[in-house]
Protein backbone atom coordinates (compact mmCIF):
# COMPACT_ATOMS: atom_id res chain seq x y z
CA UNK A 1 0.00 0.00 0.00
CA UNK A 2 2.76 2.42 1.04
CA UNK A 3 4.94 1.65 -1.99
CA UNK A 4 1.88 1.99 -4.24
CA UNK A 5 1.22 5.47 -2.82
CA UNK A 6 4.89 6.48 -3.20
CA UNK A 7 4.90 5.20 -6.80
CA UNK A 8 1.73 7.19 -7.54
CA UNK A 9 3.21 10.30 -5.93
CA UNK A 10 6.44 10.02 -7.94
CA UNK A 11 4.43 9.56 -11.13
CA UNK A 12 2.27 12.62 -10.33
CA UNK A 13 5.33 14.72 -9.45
CA UNK A 14 6.88 13.82 -12.80
CA UNK A 15 3.60 14.69 -14.48
CA UNK A 16 3.65 18.09 -12.72
CA UNK A 17 7.21 18.78 -13.97
CA UNK A 18 6.24 17.68 -17.48
CA UNK A 19 3.24 20.05 -17.33
CA UNK A 20 5.46 23.02 -16.41
CA UNK A 21 7.72 22.23 -19.38
CA UNK A 22 4.75 21.76 -21.70
CA UNK A 23 3.12 25.01 -20.53
CA UNK A 24 6.22 26.86 -21.82
CA UNK A 25 5.63 30.57 -22.18
CA UNK A 26 2.58 30.75 -19.89
CA UNK A 27 4.54 28.96 -17.15
CA UNK A 28 7.39 31.47 -17.65
CA UNK A 29 4.95 34.36 -17.16
CA UNK A 30 3.71 32.75 -13.97
CA UNK A 31 7.27 32.23 -12.68
CA UNK A 32 8.26 35.84 -13.47
CA UNK A 33 5.13 37.27 -11.84
CA UNK A 34 5.72 35.23 -8.68
CA UNK A 35 9.37 36.35 -8.77
CA UNK A 36 8.31 40.03 -8.97
CA UNK A 37 6.03 39.80 -5.96
CA UNK A 38 8.50 37.75 -3.95
CA UNK A 39 11.30 40.15 -4.92
CA UNK A 40 9.35 42.85 -3.11
CA UNK A 41 9.10 40.58 -0.11
CA UNK A 42 12.89 39.94 -0.29
CA UNK A 43 13.46 43.71 -0.39
CA UNK A 44 11.01 44.09 2.47
CA UNK A 45 12.98 41.65 4.62
CA UNK A 46 16.31 43.21 3.62
CA UNK A 47 15.24 46.82 4.18
CA UNK A 48 13.51 45.90 7.41
CA UNK A 49 16.53 43.96 8.69
CA UNK A 50 19.00 46.68 7.81
CA UNK A 51 16.86 49.54 9.12
CA UNK A 52 16.35 47.67 12.38
CA UNK A 53 20.09 47.18 12.57
CA UNK A 54 20.60 50.87 11.87
CA UNK A 55 18.12 51.77 14.56
CA UNK A 56 19.88 49.48 17.03
CA UNK A 57 23.29 50.93 16.24
CA UNK A 58 21.83 54.45 16.45
CA UNK A 59 20.65 53.69 19.94
CA UNK A 60 24.02 52.18 20.74
CA UNK A 61 25.62 55.53 19.93
CA UNK A 62 26.77 57.40 22.94
CA UNK A 63 24.93 60.57 23.92
CA UNK A 64 27.29 63.49 24.60
CA UNK A 65 26.38 66.41 26.84
CA UNK A 66 28.48 69.46 26.04
CA UNK A 67 28.83 71.67 29.12
CA UNK A 68 28.74 75.45 29.39
CA UNK A 69 32.01 77.28 29.98
CA UNK A 70 33.21 78.30 33.42
CA UNK A 71 31.32 75.67 35.44
CA UNK A 72 32.63 75.04 38.93
CA UNK A 73 33.80 71.57 40.02
CA UNK A 74 30.85 71.52 42.39
CA UNK A 75 28.33 72.08 39.57
CA UNK A 76 30.00 69.39 37.44
CA UNK A 77 30.01 66.98 40.39
CA UNK A 78 26.31 67.62 41.06
CA UNK A 79 25.40 66.92 37.41
CA UNK A 80 27.50 63.76 37.44
CA UNK A 81 25.56 62.49 40.46
CA UNK A 82 22.26 63.19 38.71
CA UNK A 83 23.43 61.33 35.59
CA UNK A 84 24.72 58.34 37.54
CA UNK A 85 21.40 58.10 39.37
CA UNK A 86 19.38 57.87 36.13
CA UNK A 87 18.15 54.36 35.27
CA UNK A 88 18.43 54.80 31.46
CA UNK A 89 22.14 55.66 31.75
CA UNK A 90 24.55 52.80 32.46
CA UNK A 91 27.88 54.59 32.21
CA UNK A 92 28.98 58.19 32.70
CA UNK A 93 32.38 59.43 31.61
CA UNK A 94 33.55 63.00 32.21
CA UNK A 95 35.84 64.46 29.56
CA UNK A 96 37.55 67.67 30.67
CA UNK A 97 38.50 70.42 28.18
CA UNK A 98 42.15 69.28 28.29
CA UNK A 99 41.24 65.60 27.79
CA UNK A 100 38.97 66.54 24.85
CA UNK A 101 41.83 68.40 23.20
CA UNK A 102 44.15 65.42 23.70
CA UNK A 103 41.63 63.02 22.16
CA UNK A 104 41.16 65.40 19.24
CA UNK A 105 44.92 65.70 18.80
CA UNK A 106 45.23 61.90 18.78
CA UNK A 107 42.47 61.57 16.20
CA UNK A 108 44.18 64.06 13.88
CA UNK A 109 47.34 61.93 13.74
CA UNK A 110 49.95 63.53 11.44
CA UNK A 111 47.90 66.71 11.15
CA UNK A 112 47.96 67.27 14.92
CA UNK A 113 50.49 70.09 14.43
CA UNK A 114 47.58 72.25 13.19
CA UNK A 115 46.36 72.53 16.78
CA UNK A 116 49.64 74.19 17.79
CA UNK A 117 48.39 77.38 16.16
CA UNK A 118 45.52 77.71 18.69
CA UNK A 119 45.87 80.33 21.41
CA UNK A 120 43.41 78.66 23.76
CA UNK A 121 41.48 75.35 24.01
CA UNK A 122 38.19 75.86 22.08
CA UNK A 123 36.72 72.46 23.01
CA UNK A 124 34.07 72.29 25.75
CA UNK A 125 34.12 69.81 28.63
CA UNK A 126 31.53 67.05 28.22
CA UNK A 127 29.88 63.98 29.65
CA UNK A 128 29.82 60.83 27.49
CA UNK A 129 26.77 58.73 28.40
CA UNK A 130 26.21 55.04 27.54
CA UNK A 131 22.52 54.18 27.44
CA UNK A 132 20.84 51.07 28.77
CA UNK A 133 20.45 48.62 25.83
CA UNK A 134 16.88 47.89 27.00
CA UNK A 135 15.94 51.45 26.06
CA UNK A 136 15.26 50.83 22.34
CA UNK A 137 12.32 52.99 21.48
CA UNK A 138 12.91 56.66 20.65
CA UNK A 139 9.86 57.68 22.63
CA UNK A 140 11.44 56.15 25.76
CA UNK A 141 14.59 58.20 25.19
CA UNK A 142 13.00 61.50 24.28
CA UNK A 143 11.92 62.73 27.77
CA UNK A 144 15.38 62.01 29.22
CA UNK A 145 17.23 63.86 26.44
CA UNK A 146 14.83 66.81 26.72
CA UNK A 147 15.37 66.93 30.48
CA UNK A 148 19.16 66.88 30.07
CA UNK A 149 19.07 69.61 27.39
CA UNK A 150 17.17 71.90 29.81
CA UNK A 151 19.72 71.49 32.63
CA UNK A 152 21.51 74.83 33.32
CA UNK A 153 24.95 73.15 33.12
CA UNK A 154 24.32 71.78 29.60
CA UNK A 155 25.14 73.77 26.45
CA UNK A 156 23.90 71.16 23.96
CA UNK A 157 23.14 67.43 23.52
CA UNK A 158 24.64 65.41 20.67
CA UNK A 159 23.13 62.11 19.56
CA UNK A 160 19.65 63.53 19.88
CA UNK A 161 16.50 61.60 19.36
CA UNK A 162 15.37 63.35 16.15
CA UNK A 163 17.10 61.21 13.53
CA UNK A 164 16.44 58.05 15.53
CA UNK A 165 12.80 59.06 15.40
CA UNK A 166 13.00 59.76 11.68
CA UNK A 167 14.60 56.35 11.10
CA UNK A 168 11.92 54.69 13.15
CA UNK A 169 9.14 56.47 11.20
CA UNK A 170 10.85 55.52 7.95
CA UNK A 171 10.92 51.93 9.14
CA UNK A 172 7.17 51.93 9.83
CA UNK A 173 6.30 53.66 6.52
CA UNK A 174 8.66 51.44 4.49
CA UNK A 175 7.28 48.33 6.16
CA UNK A 176 3.70 49.35 5.33
CA UNK A 177 4.36 50.32 1.71
CA UNK A 178 6.38 47.21 0.90
CA UNK A 179 3.89 44.97 2.67
CA UNK A 180 0.96 46.51 0.78
CA UNK A 181 2.77 46.15 -2.57
CA UNK A 182 3.76 42.61 -1.64
CA UNK A 183 0.16 41.65 -0.87
CA UNK A 184 -1.10 43.20 -4.15
CA UNK A 185 1.58 41.46 -6.20
CA UNK A 186 1.00 38.16 -4.38
CA UNK A 187 -2.68 38.33 -5.37
CA UNK A 188 -1.68 39.13 -8.96
CA UNK A 189 0.72 36.17 -9.08
CA UNK A 190 -1.94 33.92 -7.58
CA UNK A 191 -4.32 34.96 -10.38
CA UNK A 192 -1.63 34.45 -13.06
CA UNK A 193 -0.77 30.98 -11.72
CA UNK A 194 -4.47 30.13 -11.54
CA UNK A 195 -4.82 31.21 -15.21
CA UNK A 196 -1.79 29.13 -16.24
CA UNK A 197 -3.21 26.07 -14.49
CA UNK A 198 -6.58 26.81 -16.10
CA UNK A 199 -4.90 26.68 -19.53
CA UNK A 200 -3.12 23.43 -18.64
CA UNK A 201 -6.40 21.89 -17.48
CA UNK A 202 -7.97 22.96 -20.79
CA UNK A 203 -5.05 21.51 -22.77
CA UNK A 204 -5.37 18.21 -20.92
CA UNK A 205 -9.19 18.11 -20.86
CA UNK A 206 -9.40 14.88 -22.90
CA UNK A 207 -6.71 13.26 -20.81
CA UNK A 208 -8.55 14.19 -17.61
CA UNK A 209 -11.82 12.69 -18.87
CA UNK A 210 -9.91 9.48 -19.68
CA UNK A 211 -8.32 9.52 -16.22
CA UNK A 212 -11.79 9.72 -14.68
CA UNK A 213 -12.96 6.93 -16.98
CA UNK A 214 -10.24 4.51 -15.86
CA UNK A 215 -10.91 5.15 -12.19
CA UNK A 216 -8.49 7.90 -11.16
CA UNK A 217 -9.58 9.61 -7.93
CA UNK A 218 -10.19 13.38 -7.90
CA UNK A 219 -7.00 13.94 -5.88
CA UNK A 220 -5.02 11.84 -8.33
CA UNK A 221 -6.27 14.13 -11.10
CA UNK A 222 -5.69 17.33 -9.13
CA UNK A 223 -2.26 16.63 -7.65
CA UNK A 224 -0.19 17.15 -10.85
CA UNK A 225 -1.79 20.59 -11.25
CA UNK A 226 -1.07 21.47 -7.62
CA UNK A 227 2.53 20.26 -8.07
CA UNK A 228 2.75 22.36 -11.25
CA UNK A 229 1.60 25.48 -9.35
CA UNK A 230 3.97 24.78 -6.45
CA UNK A 231 6.88 24.24 -8.83
CA UNK A 232 6.16 27.51 -10.63
CA UNK A 233 5.98 29.26 -7.25
CA UNK A 234 9.25 27.66 -6.12
CA UNK A 235 11.02 28.69 -9.33
CA UNK A 236 9.60 32.21 -8.86
CA UNK A 237 11.00 32.23 -5.31
CA UNK A 238 14.45 31.13 -6.52
CA UNK A 239 14.39 33.80 -9.23
CA UNK A 240 13.38 36.44 -6.66
CA UNK A 241 16.28 35.48 -4.37
CA UNK A 242 18.66 35.55 -7.36
CA UNK A 243 17.39 39.00 -8.38
CA UNK A 244 17.69 40.36 -4.85
CA UNK A 245 21.25 39.00 -4.66
CA UNK A 246 22.01 40.90 -7.89
CA UNK A 247 20.47 44.09 -6.51
CA UNK A 248 22.30 43.62 -3.21
CA UNK A 249 25.72 43.32 -4.85
CA UNK A 250 25.01 46.25 -7.18
CA UNK A 251 23.96 48.31 -4.16
CA UNK A 252 27.02 47.30 -2.14
CA UNK A 253 29.25 48.14 -5.07
CA UNK A 254 27.79 51.54 -5.92
CA UNK A 255 26.01 52.94 -2.85
CA UNK A 256 27.59 51.25 0.14
CA UNK A 257 30.86 53.31 0.01
CA UNK A 258 28.74 56.46 0.20
CA UNK A 259 26.87 55.17 3.24
CA UNK A 260 30.16 54.23 4.88
CA UNK A 261 31.43 57.75 4.24
CA UNK A 262 28.39 59.29 5.93
CA UNK A 263 27.67 56.84 8.73
CA UNK A 264 31.07 55.28 9.32
CA UNK A 265 31.63 51.51 9.48
CA UNK A 266 28.08 50.46 8.71
CA UNK A 267 27.61 47.38 6.50
CA UNK A 268 24.42 46.27 4.73
CA UNK A 269 23.36 42.66 5.23
CA UNK A 270 21.83 40.30 2.62
CA UNK A 271 18.70 38.24 3.23
CA UNK A 272 19.09 35.87 6.18
CA UNK A 273 18.89 32.13 5.47
CA UNK A 274 15.60 31.61 7.32
CA UNK A 275 14.01 34.50 5.39
CA UNK A 276 15.26 33.05 2.07
CA UNK A 277 13.70 29.69 2.99
CA UNK A 278 10.50 31.49 3.97
CA UNK A 279 10.44 33.11 0.49
CA UNK A 280 10.71 29.67 -1.16
CA UNK A 281 7.98 28.23 1.05
CA UNK A 282 5.75 31.25 0.35
CA UNK A 283 6.37 30.91 -3.40
CA UNK A 284 5.33 27.26 -3.34
CA UNK A 285 2.31 28.07 -1.17
CA UNK A 286 1.16 30.85 -3.52
CA UNK A 287 1.61 28.48 -6.50
CA UNK A 288 -0.29 25.65 -4.82
CA UNK A 289 -3.06 28.04 -3.74
CA UNK A 290 -3.32 29.40 -7.32
CA UNK A 291 -3.75 25.85 -8.63
CA UNK A 292 -6.39 25.06 -6.01
CA UNK A 293 -8.31 28.26 -6.86
CA UNK A 294 -8.26 27.32 -10.56
CA UNK A 295 -9.37 23.72 -9.90
CA UNK A 296 -12.10 24.83 -7.48
CA UNK A 297 -13.45 27.27 -10.09
CA UNK A 298 -13.59 24.41 -12.61
CA UNK A 299 -15.31 22.06 -10.16
CA UNK A 300 -17.87 24.77 -9.36
CA UNK A 301 -18.68 25.01 -13.08
Amino acid sequence: MFTTRVRQLVYLLRQGIADVRAAGISASFAVVSVACSLLLLCLYFMVLGNLSKALDSALDLKVILYLRENLSQEQIGRLQKVLEGTAEIVNVRFISQAAALEEFRASLGKEAYLLDALDSNPLPASFELSLNPKVKEPNQLKPLLEYLAKRPEVESVQGGVEWVERLSNLLVAGRLILLLLGVILTIISLVIIATTIHLTVDRRRDEISIMRLVGASEWYIRLPFIFEGMLEGLLGGLLAIGLSAGLYYAFCWKVSPLIKLIFGAWSIDFLRLEKALLILVLGSAVGGAGALVSLSCRSAK
Binding site: T3, T4, R5, R7, Q8, Y11, D206, E207, S209, I210, M211, R212, L213, V214, G215, A216, S217, E218, Y220
Partner: protein, 232 residues
Protein backbone atom coordinates in the same frame (compact mmCIF):
# COMPACT_ATOMS: atom_id res chain seq x y z
CA UNK B 1 -39.42 5.74 -6.26
CA UNK B 2 -39.70 2.06 -5.44
CA UNK B 3 -37.44 0.80 -2.64
CA UNK B 4 -35.20 -2.24 -3.13
CA UNK B 5 -37.00 -4.16 -0.35
CA UNK B 6 -40.32 -4.02 -2.24
CA UNK B 7 -38.82 -5.54 -5.38
CA UNK B 8 -39.11 -9.25 -6.23
CA UNK B 9 -36.14 -11.27 -4.95
CA UNK B 10 -33.43 -11.89 -7.51
CA UNK B 11 -30.21 -13.89 -7.41
CA UNK B 12 -27.44 -11.65 -6.17
CA UNK B 13 -24.79 -12.86 -8.61
CA UNK B 14 -25.86 -10.57 -11.51
CA UNK B 15 -23.22 -8.18 -12.80
CA UNK B 16 -25.77 -5.48 -13.70
CA UNK B 17 -29.28 -5.06 -12.36
CA UNK B 18 -31.61 -2.14 -13.02
CA UNK B 19 -34.88 -1.60 -11.18
CA UNK B 20 -37.39 0.97 -12.46
CA UNK B 21 -34.65 3.32 -13.64
CA UNK B 22 -35.58 6.72 -15.03
CA UNK B 23 -33.30 9.37 -16.43
CA UNK B 24 -34.48 12.86 -17.32
CA UNK B 25 -32.27 15.74 -18.47
CA UNK B 26 -33.29 19.20 -17.20
CA UNK B 27 -37.02 18.61 -17.20
CA UNK B 28 -37.10 17.31 -20.80
CA UNK B 29 -38.84 14.12 -21.89
CA UNK B 30 -37.36 11.06 -20.12
CA UNK B 31 -34.22 9.76 -21.89
CA UNK B 32 -34.85 6.45 -20.11
CA UNK B 33 -38.12 5.34 -18.54
CA UNK B 34 -38.82 2.40 -16.25
CA UNK B 35 -35.80 0.33 -17.24
CA UNK B 36 -35.59 -3.10 -15.62
CA UNK B 37 -32.84 -5.47 -16.71
CA UNK B 38 -30.45 -8.09 -15.45
CA UNK B 39 -27.15 -9.16 -16.96
CA UNK B 40 -25.52 -12.34 -15.66
CA UNK B 41 -21.76 -12.84 -15.27
CA UNK B 42 -20.13 -14.06 -18.48
CA UNK B 43 -22.99 -12.90 -20.70
CA UNK B 44 -22.52 -10.95 -23.92
CA UNK B 45 -25.48 -8.64 -24.47
CA UNK B 46 -26.21 -6.25 -27.33
CA UNK B 47 -28.10 -3.05 -26.71
CA UNK B 48 -29.76 -1.98 -29.96
CA UNK B 49 -32.07 0.77 -31.07
CA UNK B 50 -32.16 3.86 -33.28
CA UNK B 51 -30.20 7.02 -32.49
CA UNK B 52 -31.65 8.80 -29.46
CA UNK B 53 -33.19 5.60 -28.08
CA UNK B 54 -31.16 5.94 -24.86
CA UNK B 55 -28.40 3.33 -25.44
CA UNK B 56 -25.51 5.63 -24.54
CA UNK B 57 -27.38 7.06 -21.53
CA UNK B 58 -27.99 3.55 -20.22
CA UNK B 59 -24.26 2.72 -20.46
CA UNK B 60 -23.31 6.03 -18.84
CA UNK B 61 -25.61 5.23 -15.91
CA UNK B 62 -23.78 1.95 -15.34
CA UNK B 63 -20.33 3.53 -15.00
CA UNK B 64 -21.86 6.55 -13.20
CA UNK B 65 -20.97 9.14 -15.79
CA UNK B 66 -24.64 10.07 -15.29
CA UNK B 67 -26.79 9.63 -12.21
CA UNK B 68 -30.25 8.07 -12.51
CA UNK B 69 -33.15 10.43 -11.78
CA UNK B 70 -34.86 7.56 -9.96
CA UNK B 71 -34.62 3.80 -9.58
CA UNK B 72 -31.82 1.53 -8.42
CA UNK B 73 -28.77 0.30 -10.33
CA UNK B 74 -26.63 -2.49 -8.90
CA UNK B 75 -23.26 -3.09 -10.56
CA UNK B 76 -21.03 -5.92 -9.31
CA UNK B 77 -22.97 -5.99 -6.02
CA UNK B 78 -22.71 -2.22 -5.38
CA UNK B 79 -25.65 0.18 -5.51
CA UNK B 80 -24.42 2.75 -8.04
CA UNK B 81 -27.41 5.04 -7.43
CA UNK B 82 -26.38 5.61 -3.80
CA UNK B 83 -22.65 5.79 -4.44
CA UNK B 84 -20.77 8.86 -3.20
CA UNK B 85 -18.63 10.74 -5.73
CA UNK B 86 -15.48 9.55 -3.94
CA UNK B 87 -16.51 5.89 -4.48
CA UNK B 88 -17.06 6.19 -8.23
CA UNK B 89 -13.36 5.69 -9.03
CA UNK B 90 -13.46 2.30 -7.23
CA UNK B 91 -16.43 1.27 -9.40
CA UNK B 92 -14.70 2.34 -12.61
CA UNK B 93 -11.60 0.29 -11.80
CA UNK B 94 -13.81 -2.82 -12.21
CA UNK B 95 -15.32 -1.67 -15.51
CA UNK B 96 -13.69 -1.29 -18.92
CA UNK B 97 -15.25 1.17 -21.37
CA UNK B 98 -14.76 1.41 -25.15
CA UNK B 99 -16.11 4.31 -27.20
CA UNK B 100 -16.88 4.91 -30.86
CA UNK B 101 -14.24 7.70 -31.00
CA UNK B 102 -11.60 5.55 -29.18
CA UNK B 103 -10.69 8.35 -26.70
CA UNK B 104 -6.94 7.76 -26.89
CA UNK B 105 -4.33 10.28 -25.69
CA UNK B 106 -2.51 11.34 -28.85
CA UNK B 107 0.57 12.62 -27.02
CA UNK B 108 1.21 9.14 -25.62
CA UNK B 109 2.36 5.98 -27.40
CA UNK B 110 0.23 2.85 -27.68
CA UNK B 111 2.09 1.38 -24.69
CA UNK B 112 1.64 4.53 -22.60
CA UNK B 113 -2.08 4.74 -23.45
CA UNK B 114 -2.66 1.23 -22.15
CA UNK B 115 -0.23 1.59 -19.22
CA UNK B 116 -2.08 4.71 -18.03
CA UNK B 117 -4.81 2.65 -16.35
CA UNK B 118 -2.25 0.74 -14.29
CA UNK B 119 -0.25 3.88 -13.43
CA UNK B 120 -3.42 5.37 -11.95
CA UNK B 121 -3.61 2.31 -9.70
CA UNK B 122 0.06 2.67 -8.71
CA UNK B 123 1.19 -0.69 -10.13
CA UNK B 124 4.91 -1.44 -10.31
CA UNK B 125 6.88 -0.90 -13.51
CA UNK B 126 7.41 -4.63 -14.07
CA UNK B 127 3.72 -5.43 -13.53
CA UNK B 128 2.70 -2.62 -15.89
CA UNK B 129 5.13 -3.89 -18.56
CA UNK B 130 3.87 -7.46 -18.24
CA UNK B 131 0.16 -6.63 -18.24
CA UNK B 132 0.35 -4.08 -21.06
CA UNK B 133 2.28 -6.46 -23.28
CA UNK B 134 -0.26 -9.19 -22.55
CA UNK B 135 -3.23 -6.87 -23.31
CA UNK B 136 -1.66 -5.65 -26.56
CA UNK B 137 -0.89 -9.24 -27.59
CA UNK B 138 -4.53 -10.08 -26.94
CA UNK B 139 -5.59 -7.47 -29.54
CA UNK B 140 -2.65 -8.26 -31.88
CA UNK B 141 -0.81 -4.96 -31.48
CA UNK B 142 2.24 -5.94 -29.42
CA UNK B 143 4.47 -4.99 -32.36
CA UNK B 144 3.14 -1.39 -32.35
CA UNK B 145 3.81 -0.52 -28.71
CA UNK B 146 5.97 2.51 -29.49
CA UNK B 147 3.72 3.97 -32.19
CA UNK B 148 1.56 7.06 -31.59
CA UNK B 149 -2.21 6.59 -32.11
CA UNK B 150 -2.37 9.04 -35.05
CA UNK B 151 -0.16 6.67 -37.08
CA UNK B 152 -2.65 3.81 -36.63
CA UNK B 153 -5.74 2.95 -38.68
CA UNK B 154 -9.22 3.32 -37.14
CA UNK B 155 -9.43 -0.41 -36.48
CA UNK B 156 -6.02 -0.44 -34.80
CA UNK B 157 -6.92 2.56 -32.65
CA UNK B 158 -10.06 0.77 -31.52
CA UNK B 159 -7.97 -2.30 -30.66
CA UNK B 160 -5.72 -0.10 -28.50
CA UNK B 161 -8.84 1.22 -26.77
CA UNK B 162 -9.98 -2.37 -26.17
CA UNK B 163 -6.54 -3.29 -24.78
CA UNK B 164 -6.78 -0.32 -22.41
CA UNK B 165 -10.27 -1.40 -21.34
CA UNK B 166 -9.23 -4.97 -20.51
CA UNK B 167 -5.69 -4.44 -19.17
CA UNK B 168 -6.88 -4.38 -15.55
CA UNK B 169 -9.08 -7.48 -15.97
CA UNK B 170 -12.48 -5.78 -15.54
CA UNK B 171 -15.55 -7.78 -14.53
CA UNK B 172 -17.63 -5.83 -17.04
CA UNK B 173 -16.75 -4.40 -20.44
CA UNK B 174 -19.04 -1.66 -21.78
CA UNK B 175 -18.78 -0.69 -25.44
CA UNK B 176 -20.62 2.23 -27.00
CA UNK B 177 -20.85 1.82 -30.78
CA UNK B 178 -17.31 0.43 -30.98
CA UNK B 179 -17.68 -0.37 -34.67
CA UNK B 180 -19.46 2.86 -35.60
CA UNK B 181 -16.39 4.39 -37.27
CA UNK B 182 -15.15 1.20 -38.93
CA UNK B 183 -15.80 -0.53 -42.25
CA UNK B 184 -17.62 -3.87 -42.16
CA UNK B 185 -14.52 -6.10 -42.34
CA UNK B 186 -12.70 -4.16 -39.61
CA UNK B 187 -15.92 -4.10 -37.57
CA UNK B 188 -16.07 -7.91 -37.77
CA UNK B 189 -12.43 -8.16 -36.60
CA UNK B 190 -13.15 -5.87 -33.64
CA UNK B 191 -16.33 -7.79 -32.86
CA UNK B 192 -14.36 -11.06 -32.81
CA UNK B 193 -12.06 -9.49 -30.24
CA UNK B 194 -15.06 -8.75 -28.00
CA UNK B 195 -16.23 -12.35 -28.41
CA UNK B 196 -12.75 -13.59 -27.52
CA UNK B 197 -12.73 -11.37 -24.40
CA UNK B 198 -16.21 -12.64 -23.47
CA UNK B 199 -15.16 -16.27 -23.92
CA UNK B 200 -12.36 -15.67 -21.44
CA UNK B 201 -14.95 -14.71 -18.82
CA UNK B 202 -15.56 -10.95 -19.05
CA UNK B 203 -19.18 -9.83 -19.22
CA UNK B 204 -19.75 -7.59 -22.26
CA UNK B 205 -22.54 -5.07 -22.79
CA UNK B 206 -22.34 -3.41 -26.19
CA UNK B 207 -24.52 -0.64 -27.63
CA UNK B 208 -24.71 -0.74 -31.41
CA UNK B 209 -27.03 -0.03 -34.30
CA UNK B 210 -25.16 -2.44 -36.59
CA UNK B 211 -27.95 -5.03 -36.70
CA UNK B 212 -26.21 -7.09 -39.35
CA UNK B 213 -23.31 -7.90 -37.06
CA UNK B 214 -25.65 -8.44 -34.09
CA UNK B 215 -27.62 -11.03 -36.04
CA UNK B 216 -24.40 -12.81 -37.06
CA UNK B 217 -23.32 -13.09 -33.40
CA UNK B 218 -26.50 -14.79 -32.17
CA UNK B 219 -26.26 -13.32 -28.66
CA UNK B 220 -28.88 -11.86 -26.31
CA UNK B 221 -30.30 -8.54 -27.54
CA UNK B 222 -32.02 -5.74 -25.60
CA UNK B 223 -33.93 -3.29 -27.85
CA UNK B 224 -34.53 0.24 -26.78
CA UNK B 225 -36.92 2.75 -28.34
CA UNK B 226 -37.62 6.23 -27.03
CA UNK B 227 -36.04 5.38 -23.70
CA UNK B 228 -37.98 2.19 -23.08
CA UNK B 229 -37.09 -1.47 -23.45
CA UNK B 230 -39.23 -2.89 -26.24
CA UNK B 231 -37.60 -6.29 -26.58
CA UNK B 232 -35.74 -8.25 -23.93
Amino acid sequence: MQSLSSLPPAPLSAIVQMFHVYKTFDGQKAALADINLRIEPGEMVFLVGPSGAGKTTLLRLIFREEKASSGQIIVNGKNVSKMKDSQICQLRRKIGVVFQDFKLIHSKTVFENVAYVLQVLGKSKSEIGRKVWSALRRVGLEHKMDVYPKRLSGGEQQRVAIARAVVNDPVLLLADEPTGNLDLDTAREVMNLFIDINIQGTTVLMATHNLRIVEEMGKRVISLREGKIVHH
